[in-house]
């Protein structure tokens, strides 16, 4: 005789150790199996879009840093690129190279955090996380050397970067890119064939490619499902067309592939940095742009490949010194669209892993 069970509503969050910040899940459970889930967000909605519309263009760079605080370089670079496109100014060669080095370093730092968190969610409490943080600290030290901040840099400017690299940066960076492949192999040895990781992630939370495309999913989450969409390749910006790198993709689209995807992307980022350091030219690092800029009327949409996916800035200028409309296409928010389909039918403990493997940052979701 089958036992009759009643659905049970469980509220997870908004302050919960496994929700990556202030995220709330309203899960309806049947026993241990999730039958319905509703993500509730907005607990970190700081009104960045409204604040940015009330400030001058230059003053919005720190706000962009705080959108995605573990990938601040890429966000302020995308914003600077959008304003440069509005103004119609170009960036000096050296500054482009510095930007690429910074953004790719940031991608590695961000993926380290993502991989560490996935492992954390599976109950390997803090051990892989500590390994990842060991290398992340090294990257933060490099950033610290350049702009005196560890997390939110305010380094990008319209028409370049705020100042040149210090003398000791390039040797330190070279040392780092020589060491890092060994560390990535070390993680792979620790994790890739680990029995617990395999059991907890293989075949779990599959995201089919058709659903991913229809839900506008982007970034590593999309590529792990087998869709090779990377803005660096399909709509090259900055100087990405000068480097040789691969767009790794996987086919299963489960949590394991999303983990492998990030590991492979770190390797590709290292390749890009190595080429950029070799080719780094001498010269100016910013062009002369007044502090108060008044772009001509019009609108512009710029998208870049952020660590979490396709980051877009939509700016409307009315000719004044403040943006008339400032909109961010936040990859973390849109990647949450297929969450219901991915989680329903799995056990609650798997739901946490699936959610973690999408890798979200609340600052970017809620803005």
């Amino acid at each position: 005789m089958a036992l009759k069970t009643e659905p049970f509503v469980l509220n997870i969050g908004p302050l919960h150790p496994s929700t990556h910040g202030v995220f709330r899940l309203l899960a309806t459970l049947d026993g241990e199996v999730v039958v319905d889930i509703e993500p509730i967000i907005g607990y970190l909605h700081r009104g960045i879009e409204k604040l940015a519309e009330g400030r001058e263009y230059q003053k919005d760079i720190p706000l962009c840093d705080r959108l995605d605080y573990v990938a601040a370089m890429g966000h302020s670079m995308a914003y600077a690129m959008a304003v440069e496109k509005l103004l119609g100014i170009s960036v000096p060669e050296r500054a482009e190279y510095i930007r690429v080095i910074m953004v790719e370093l940031q991608r590695i730092a961000s993926h380290l955090l993502a991989v560490g968190s996935i492992a954390n969610e599976m109950g390997t409490f803090f051990t892989p996380f500590m390994y990842m943080f060991r290398e992340r600290e090294k990257i933060l030290d490099l950033f610290d050397m350049v702009c005196g901040q560890r997390l939110l840099y305010n380094y990008m400017r319209f028409g370049g970067v705020s100042h040149d690299l210090p003398e000791e940066f390039i040797p330190a960076l070279k040392k780092f890119i020589d060491q890092m492949p060994g560390y990535i192999d070390e993680y792979d040895q620790l994790l890739a064939e680990n029995e617990i990781l395999l059991v907890r992630t293989k075949g779990i939370g599959v995201l089919p490619p058709e659903l991913a495309v229809n839900c506008s999913v982007s970034g590593p989450t999309l590529r792990a499902s087998g869709v090779a969409r990377d803005i660096r390749r399909c709509d090259p910006y900055s100087i990405y067309d000068r480097f040789e790198f691969d767009i790794p993709t996987f086919t299963a689209g489960d949590c394991y592939d999303r983990y492998r995807q990030r590991i492979e992307e770190m390797r590709q980022s290292l390749r890009i940095i190595r080429q950029a350091v070799e080719q780094l030219p001498q010269g100016k690092v910013n062009s002369r742009v007044p502090i108060r800029v008044r772009p001509p009327q019009g609108d512009v949409f710029v998208h870049v490949e952020a660590p979490r996916g396709e980051l877009g800035f939509y700016l409307v200028s009315d000719g004044s010194e403040k943006p008339y409309r400032f909109h961010v296409r936040a990859p973390s928010l849109i990647n949450l669209t297929p969450l219901r389909e991915m989680i329903i039918g799995w056990k609650l403990a798997d739901a946490i892993v699936i959610f973690g493997s999408i890798d979200i940052i609340m600052g970017e979701i809620d803005r």
Binding site: K50, E53, C215, S216, H303, G312, Y314, L333, I334, T337
Partner: protein
């Protein structure tokens, strides 16, 4: 794979739809609200166009009217297109595109919450970032927090 320029896409569209339904404007197409669903499904389902990926949905308050801006792209042909839908200030309502691209779901809710533009046919249209009982829509130009 055949990448079409904006002129070619606009040519295909204007051959099919009347100018009051779809009109080119600054490298984008302005679509009448009542024709949006029809035009969007044509864009998505025609093999030559194949706009299968909705990059972004956003809205702008131009004081006299709202403009909802859609950025579309085709993964296969790698061409992209911007659609604009305008609706008057006193009747902010456009059809929802969730039935075609699920990716619009959370973004339309976001616009509804912050800009106060409704989307007819959205499965779960309610506030997403702000709480129940919050007065006003902050991204509107006439919003003031009262402090």
């Amino acid at each position: 794979m055949q990448t079409l320029s904006f002129g070619e896409i606009a040519g295909l569209i204007s051959a099919k739809y009347a100018p009051e339904a779809v009109a080119p404007f600054q490298g984008s197409l302005v679509v009448g609200g009542e024709h949006l669903l029809e035009v969007a499904s044509y864009l998505r389902d025609t093999p030559q166009l194949d706009f299968d990926y909705l990059i972004s949905v956003t809205a702008v308050d131009y004081r006299s009217h709202f403009e909802v801006v859609y950025h579309l792209t085709s993964l296969q042909h790698s061409h992209s297109l911007v659609l604009r839908v305008r609706c008057p200030q006193n009747k902010p309502l456009v059809p929802s595109l969730v039935s075609l691209w699920r990716g619009a779901e959370l973004q339309e809710r976001e616009i509804f919450d912050l800009m106060g533009v409704g989307f007819a046919g959205h499965p779960n249209l309610k506030r997403i970032f702000l709480w129940d009982g919050f007065k006003g829509h902050p991204l509107r130009k006439d919003y003031s927090s009262g402090t």
